[in-house]
Amino acid sequence: MGGAGTGEPTKHALASRLVTLGLAIAFGAVGVPRASADEILVAAAASLREPVVTLAEVHETRHPGDRVRVSFGSSSSLALQIRHGAPVDVFLSADSRLVDTLVSEGLIGDDRHQPLVGNRLVVIRPRGSDLRVGAPSDLLDPRIRRFALPSEVVPLGGYGRRWLQERGLLDALGPRIVVTEHARATLAAVAQGHADAAIVYATDAATSPGVEVAWAIPDGEQPSILYAIATPGEGDVAPATERFVTLVQGPDGERILQSAGFVWRAKDPSVAAPIASGPRP
């Protein structure tokens, strides 16, 4: 094992390279994700972006030891991640049925989910577009060459497609649908002019200066949209998670979500007791 011989300069170069590698790893330590005990991961529907960011900020201000990380996506892809073992502490789903499925699969305890808010659908067009929509059949206007909508597994895609189906429009509109990732991607597609129209949540339409409401679908034609809050897992809820859920379901959550345009559906304590103090078997 004597050192000298064939590769002295080479060894030297290799050693220096290894040192540099080590330094690089150490430097990379800036980006080392370290999950602390009071760090919670919230998986939230993309359509809840602004209010959930605000709620996370309020939470961190009020509980300086807690850290709230939020992963936004389509509720269906977030549910899929939970199914595959993602360490999600709080799930805010745009469709309560996705939560029900996770409950039936045993991934969310029976007493660990509640309805949260309702929403409405609107038809949007890019700002400045001269598209006129006053009835569902106007969606077949030839000027709508591309209609943005997520696939049916995504909550918005499900709500929107069922709504179109019930009016006999889905088949005719089908070839013009560009499939988007989630509610916000649908909004962005219209805001950037990639699509000529879309069905989105009223709350989303209000966040973008690039779109305008072409038709506020009247009450009688609105589908029932229900968001839910859940804490995946069984047994005791971690204290930081409980604090966040209490905040979302409490008066601050109500104020912040309502000012973003959501309809508060967690009012009645008999229907929606706070998760952590719900009935236990």
Binding site: A35, R69, S71, F72, G85, H182
Partner: protein, 217 residues
């Protein structure tokens, strides 16, 4: 994007690509050496199989890893919870970059004259010593170049990573995942900031790597 968050994303991206390369190196070097030194039936098949992770859609690799590393997979049975951690991102990047590394190693070992190894053996070095002190140093440029390719592939990995690591800010959000999620959320400014950061990171790492390659000559 806050400066702290940006630094975190860039640091995590570099770390994932680096760890991916380090994970891929030992198996890739040994496999590359075996392929270069042995001619056996089915060698072409092994070569083709090795290349697969690079040729099949990265999402397919991601799905395979999701099943393998997931809660019902063999790694979970060993108590390793890997999915949706940055380790999963590194493993995904290692799988996708592995073929590049193996092929580069194979190539450079094939160029090492077998006679040097024979002489080393007659002078009393064991197989392992011969490999470590003769073959590997002579093939170092190819190995280094392969590592560079693997690292570069890891910096931009998206498909497999998105599936096994999710896009969790501060935990698994690398540059490519961050750009994609921001574009989807309509945050074009944030996406462009991350694009600029990835440009800087890529340029910086390639310049450093070029320097290494030149010194290894």
């Amino acid at each position: 994007v806050s400066a702290g968050a940006l630094l975190g994303i860039v640091g995590l991206t570099a770390r994932v690509a680096l760890v991916a390369t380090l994970l891929a190196l030992p198996p890739a070097v040994s496999l590359g050496y075996c392929l270069a030194r042995n001619d056996f039936r089915g060698r072409a098949l092994v070569q083709a199989l090795v290349t697969l992770p690079m040729v099949v859609p990265p999402v397919a690799v991601g799905l395979a890893l999701l099943i393998l590393l997931g809660p019902r997979g063999p790694f979970a049975a060993l108590g390793l919870e890997l999915v949706f951690t940055w380790w999963a991102a590194a493993i995904a990047a290692a799988c996708v970059g592995f073929p590049l590394l193996v092929r580069a190693c194979e190539q450079s070992f094939a160029e090492v004259d077998v006679r040097y190894e024979s002489v080393a053996r007659t002078l009393g070095l064991s197989r392992l010593q011969t490999f470590a002190r003769v073959s590997l140093p002579l093939a170092r440029r190819g190995v280094l170049y392969g590592s560079l390719l693997c690292f570069a592939r890891g910096l931009g990995e998206f498909g497999a990573t998105a599936l096994v690591a999710g896009i969790i800010p501060g935990r698994t959000e690398t540059l490519s995942l961050g750009i994609w999620s921001r574009v989807q959320l309509g945050d074009d400014v944030g996406a462009l900031v991350l694009c600029a950061a990835s440009f800087v990171l890529a340029l910086f790492s390639m310049l450093v790597a070029e320097g290494w390659l030149r010194r290894a000559r």
